[in-house]
């Protein structure tokens, strides 16, 4: 792999640095994993497009030195669908926050999955609306506190990957900011998979989520994340009691099914022949 200075120079808009993220925020870790993954997988920088919604996590698009689109709240996947249909040869990464993807953007999420369009959704899940200062999202675990749930939210959280699978996605993986090398590998796998890939990247927001829920600083949060996660391969050998409170890590599902943009263009071609 290229040295870090080289990666920074090539793949980040260094003029935009320093970034705006708080100390201990996981967004930078996930962004760095994406940069390493793109380099390792050998994609041509000119053929990669990054689309993001809005939120702290979506600010990543501003720092990444590719063609990037910072779009409206929740709509990144709809923008990306247009891009992919117009230029199917491009590789697209769609960066979204948990709120962006599963609250206001939930509709586009399930329909992208249903079409199995070849987009790589990276959902940076810090369990909170970070950018607006800590309101609960559909991925905030029940009982956790937020400014809109001072006593802890009563609502149930989505299982994002189950939702994706149910809606038709053909690749689903979960990693976390405490294990960035794994994350990097999963991003490569997601990108190489042809179809709608969802990578849920668990991340830290010590400011708007950690503080409110007394989870400690970034170090404690990352440690907690690592301790509670368990690789899917290992989990297969464990019983229910042992798995209590654990979060599955790794590629949870991956299978082949017709991909929408290529199928569509093939059908047009057939019609023309």
């Amino acid at each position: 792999m290229a040295p870090i200075e080289q990666l920074t120079q090539d793949f980040l808009r260094t003029k935009k640095l320093p970034h705006i993220w708080c100390p201990g925020c996981g967004n930078g870790i996930v962004t760095a994993a994406l940069v390493r993954a793109i380099e390792k997988a050998g994609y041509d920088q000119r053929e990669v497009v990054i689309v993001s919604g809005i939120g702290c996590s979506s600010r990543a698009a501003g720092y990444l030195n590719f063609n990037t689109l910072h779009t409206t709240h929740g709509r990144a996947l709809a923008f990306a669908t247009g891009l992919k249909m117009a230029r199917p040869e491009l590789t697209l990464f769609v960066i979204m926050g948990d709120g962006d993807c599963s609250a206001i953007g939930g509709n586009h999420f399930i329909h992208s999955a249903r079409r199995n369009i070849d987009l790589n959704a990276i959902v940076i899940n810090n369990h909170i609306y970070g950018m607006t200062g800590g309101q609960h999202s559909p991925l905030t675990p029940t009982g956790k506190k937020a400014t809109t749930a001072p006593g802890g939210t009563l609502e149930r959280a989505f299982n994002l990957l189950e939702l994706a699978r149910g809606a038709g996605a053909t690749f689903g993986a979960r990693g976390n900011a405490a294990q960035p090398r794994q994350l990097e590998k999963m991003i490569i796998q997601a990108a190489r998979h042809k179809g709608f890939s969802v990578l849920e990247a668990l991340s830290t927001c010590p400011i708007a989520y950690g503080r409110k829920n007394r989870l400690g600083g970034a170090v404690e949060m990352l440690k907690g994340m690592k301790d509670s996660s368990i690789a899917i391969e290992r989990a297969k050998e464990m019983d229910e009691a042992e798995l209590e409170g654990k979060i599955l890590n790794g590629v949870l599902f991956s299978f082949d099914a017709p991909e929408f943009s290529s199928q569509y263009h093939q059908s047009i071609k057939k019609g023309q022949d």
């Binding site: 609250a103 939930g106 609306y129 607006t132 400014t147 001072p150």
Partner: protein, 379 residues
Amino acid sequence: MALKMISGNQAAAIAVQRVGVDLVTAYPITPQTAIVEALADFAANGELGGDFVSVESEYAALACCNGAAATGARVFTATGSHGLAYMHEMIHWCSGARLPIVMVNVNRTIGAPWCLDPDQGDSLSQRDTGWLQLYCANGQEVFDSVIQAFILAEKLLLPCMVVFDGFYISHTYEVVDVADEEIVRKLVGPPAFAPQVIPGQPGNLHGLSTGETQLKLVKERHQAMSGVPLLFAQINAAFNEQLGRSYNIVEAMIPPGAKRAVVAVGATAETVRWALPALDHTGLIQLRLFRPFPAAEIREVVREKGLNELLVIDRNCSVGMGGIFAQELRSALYGMKSPPLVRSLILAGGVDLTENMLLDLLQSTGPEENFALRWGDEF
């Protein structure tokens, strides 16, 4: 009377708590978020007296308000900018459904590109939806306007939007006289509008209608709006009695002999008010009401004071036409014997109005310099 040092957002939230609502629902967006958070706190402490529902989008928030209000519940929501734009379909719908929903909109520019500054285009682009629109120039006006909005909305069966500038008002701390719950409840009274959904009386709401029916309904809404000035006079009397203050729909501060006035709406009106002593022979006309448009009240001020020039501060722009308040004013003045010249300063993008900018503008403004609009970046 209780004086508190609070932000515009807090003033809005406390007013809602004082009024007493059955349901609050909203989706966060800067610079509105603190309103929602304060109301969530009130709810958690049992001080809201109603439900706080977190929803997945602004669209859902207004639809949820609609459902609750149809049962006769008093409801509130708040948003701004992209959130308001996203509600657009529901904004029309609530007015057509004659539901007295109160919403705060904190002005913020709509992208692309993303911008946080307080352009008024978000609320002004909802001009034709059949909502009442009140604009506030400071924290006190925010507190009082929210209370007035519930009275107006419920009496006229029309939804009401209370609008103020992001940051300049939403995040600025000022001394606000926060009236007691008891007084506010006396002013507003319990929700007394008829529910549309009544258990045991099945019916279908808002099914397919004809153009003729729509025409009749639109006419009814238009006529309902014309009741605002009279209602406002009653509200003023009650406010004077209970709180010792009241507001004019059109607030005119014209020094003796001045033939020129700056017309301003929201926070810029406050800037002009403070700058008035430094302005040469110039007055201020502050519009507190945008829908219904107070045409008669403006004409009266113009006629009575013999004004021959109005300089409108438009922190917005209808691209291809110009400042929105200036356009509305010109059409309101149409047909007057000798209407004043209407010029506009466009501060689209939410650009700040400073006293120096005003002085520069007024110095370079004589009837001989025949401009219709100037842009904020020229100063």
